[in-house]
Amino acid sequence: MQRGVLTPGSTVKPELRWHLAETVLWREWDGDVVAFAGTSGATHHFTEFAAWLFVRIAAAPSTADELRAAAIDEVDITGDGTLDQSIDVTLRLLSDLLLVTPHATAADMAAAVAH
């Protein structure tokens, strides 16, 4: 299993499957999420789209494409470039905060190549 690396300016690689980092604790209240990053010791508060995306990843590790499809389906967002940008920015934010980490499985890489 290959561990993905985010580089500044690059879009999120489609083969990366995002999951909660180890030592993350979190709680959701009324759609808002409060998360504790064990690595940094910091506590963060997310609302709206970032909260939705965090909860989605917490429920099941997901690729950006899977998050995109779920957003269109669950949140009734149109699948335009703005959505991709939002997913990209949010994943990078959560990664920078040490709350989520990406892995690339062989199956995901194969699927990315097929597309």
């Binding site: 030592t23 604790l25 709680r27 209240w29 009324d30 808002d32 999420v33 409060v34 504790f36 064990g38 010791g41 506590t43 508060h45 609302t47």
Partner: protein
Amino acid sequence: MPEECFHLRIGPFHARVETALRHLSGELRRFYPDAFFAERPFADFHVRIRRAHGLRRWYRPQAIFELDGETPFKPLPFGQALALFEWGMNHCIAGQAHHYLIIHAAVIERNGRAAILPAAPGSGKSTLTAALVHRGWRLLSDELTLVRMADRQLVPLARPVSLKNRSIDVIRDFAPGAVFGPRIDDTTKGTIALMRAPQASIERVSETALPGWIVFPQWKAGSPASMTPVGKADAMMELARNATNYHVHGADGFAALCETVDRSACRRFVYSDLQDAVAAFAALSDRAA
């Protein structure tokens, strides 16, 4: 003048106090009337309040707070020795009692449920607390909320409430039976006076409580009493900001605060009149009963 040595029980803590300042030991007997006990082999804090040496012994004399032989603060004018002791005890507890999660907040209790009142300086927290504990609420603490990590119970201290400037006379008028110490002028916070915890609060200092509310108070001139809901995530973040040793507890601290928020209805409270504030808190408590 020979030093006096006595042992004080302050909530769950034992402080061994040495001082030659007779006026201080007298005031401590007034504010901690049931807390003096015979010498014990172990104390949580070893505290000494002494006169400064040298010229400051006579010229504008100063008092010095020592903890375990160290001097954590600058000296203060001799007349502020009582305030120095109280601030010193805050330092002792906040700096060492890490078997508690410590939140900078008042905490009061009525009908078995506690209200935690986190607030910034100048918000009117202490004035509100002083009023409420003379109208049916029990004082657990005016300054430091102690969440016992083992079982998330809130542990009382029943220490004096520190009032500043105009609020001293406001509470004297509101609660004529309240016991006050002398006014202490020219402190960094202006004029302060300590108000003893009500006797009923002192007698129940061993009774813990579980939280029922988190209320963020704010005094605002001319404002009618207004209690509005606060989202639990917002309340959680504010509690974390007010938790002085949150960084010590890490994940356990996060879990403890989450449980505290889970148990609590969260409100923001704006007020200007104490009678209205008392009524609002009574309604809050009565609805939950």
